[in-house]
């Protein structure tokens, strides 16, 4: 029992630490294109909440299946969805001759 509560307290501490890191690094003059890296601590926080508060490891097997499915499909949406804008290039126009 106390072990359980100690785990919860540690999780809270970890979450606040990650939040502090995220908050702190946001003041670094990161390049504009690199700033989405600030999401890394957030992703770790999501993982901590999911495993420790929501206890994804407990309960029947399909709980993990559903959690993984949600994340997998999220990856599909964001990955394939951003393929188009990230690779949409202006093609080269060479030697347009008309005056």
């Amino acid at each position: 029992m106390t072990l359980r509560f100690r785990r919860l307290w540690l999780t809270l501490a970890l979450l606040l630490l990650l939040l502090a890191i995220e908050f702190g690094t946001s003041f670094f003059p990161l390049d504009r294109a690199a700033r989405p890296l600030l999401l890394i601590p957030a992703v770790l926080m999501v993982g901590a909440v999911g495993t420790m508060f929501m206890e994804v490891g407990r309960g029947p097997e399909i709980v993990r299946l559903f959690a993984v499915a949600g994340l997998l499909w999220l990856t599909i949406l964001l990955g394939l969805g951003s393929l188009d804008p990230m690779t949409r290039t202006d093609y080269y126009v060479q030697g347009a001759s008309v005056k």
Binding site: L77, G81, P85, R88, T89
Partner: protein
Amino acid sequence: MSATAIEAPAFEPSYLKDGWTLRSWLLTTDHKRIALLYLGTITIFFFVGGIAAALIRLNLIVPEGLIPSEETYNRLFTMHGVVMVWFFLIPAVPTTLGNFIVPLMLGARDLAFPKLNLASWYLFVIAGIVVLYALFAGGVDTGWTFYTPLSTAYSKGHVVAAIAGVFIAGFSSIATGLNFIVSIHRLRAPGMTWYRLPVFLWSLYATSVILVLATPVLAMTLLLLSFERIFHIGVFDPALGGDPLLFQHLFWFYSHPAVYIMILPGFGVISEIIPAFSSKRLFGYKFVVWCSIAIAVISFLVWGHHMFVAGTSLYSALVFSILSYMVAVPSAIKVFNWIGTMHKGFIRFDAPMLYALGFIGLFTVGGLTGLFVAALAADVHLTQTYFIVAHFHYVMVGGMVSAFFAGLHYWWPKITGRMYPEMWGRAGAFIIFIGFNFTFFPQFILGYLGMPRRYHSYPPEFEVLNVLSSAGATILAVGYLLPLGYLTWSLFHGERASANPWGATGLEWKTPSPPPTDNFDETPVVNEPPYNYPPPELVERHV
């Protein structure tokens, strides 16, 4: 558990006789009654959408268009699309046949969340009323795809009301999908292992995965669309630097998998009927099963093929093209397996089988024409013409609606306890097959010749083919009205059905027709593989 603990009643009344009040229907949590509520509702929508379709074909008889107003015509095809897609095709099999049969096939008392099931029907009805209000109060002229910025800034119709209806219908879909997934995971009868599940259940499982994971994206997309339409600013607005293609990406992320929401249950129905009427095991059961799952996953990876000419990047077009070919493979495998099932069978030609054979033929044409539009350069010419219209009608109407009728006839004795008139059933199947080809085959040619879709008027050289198509549509209309007539007739005058009129396997046939409210007197135990029909060499001796 001891046998004396619970007294089994001598016989239980059928679910149809368990209460006669309106309340016993409208507040029921019995999956079988909810299935009938759904059946009634989607029939209404099918005929609303069908009337719109009839008017569309009527308009196109002459090149300049019979309906004087273009606005009216645009509203008609939008109404046809919205109603047919969200209020007939997507719910058709899952909410009617699925709701009724899934617990029976599982050997369960009900779905996992019966109240949620009832709630989903109410959501569906509310959604339907909102959409019908939008369509009749002023109409929407954006097409069922609601492309921005037409829908956000330029269309004058009741766009927000229409998408509010679709939004609510989405929650109804999610509830149904969630219920099926949890039920199939948790409520299988003792001995019902995963590989003993009938393919219909696997198909509905795959369908539900799509319902649950794709629909929320549509919900968010429609919210963004409403925000932009109401406040006149937003992420899709090119004037602000927004990207009009973002809407198409989000919309097709839902709507392409939605195509498989419509067709996968059809695959399931056919996979039940072909073995039953061939009295033979399903050929390559595991392949068929895993093809369903593969389709559910891959269908999420191909949405970009709707946008090959929309201005997306070259890389994205290439990736989506090859993935589109990938998704066609499992569908092809299924067709081969159904034919393999018929090999060396004892084939009977009752109406469900005729509908199923019609399905295989029409779906194969629909699938093969999909290859044309997955090939990038050919798609450039064929997309957004009548070729596309014909292609998806072959899959959606020729395929899906045939499968729905096949399933409806197959399980009609179970649902109602009455047999439908067999000769009329066969006639209906023939008329639909012929009328369908008559209506939609000319549209392939029209498409190749370049006739654009959603045109109120067209150049005169397309007239002959359009008249042909409209003539076919009248036959098709007769084909769809026939079952409405004779099925209704059979409710009162049909022959009484036995528990298993087709000699089929599956737990649903092991309980009386119509089933009692509790489905089974005692929980069935499964100890054999699905479709356990005797091998032909053993049958031979009895012939």
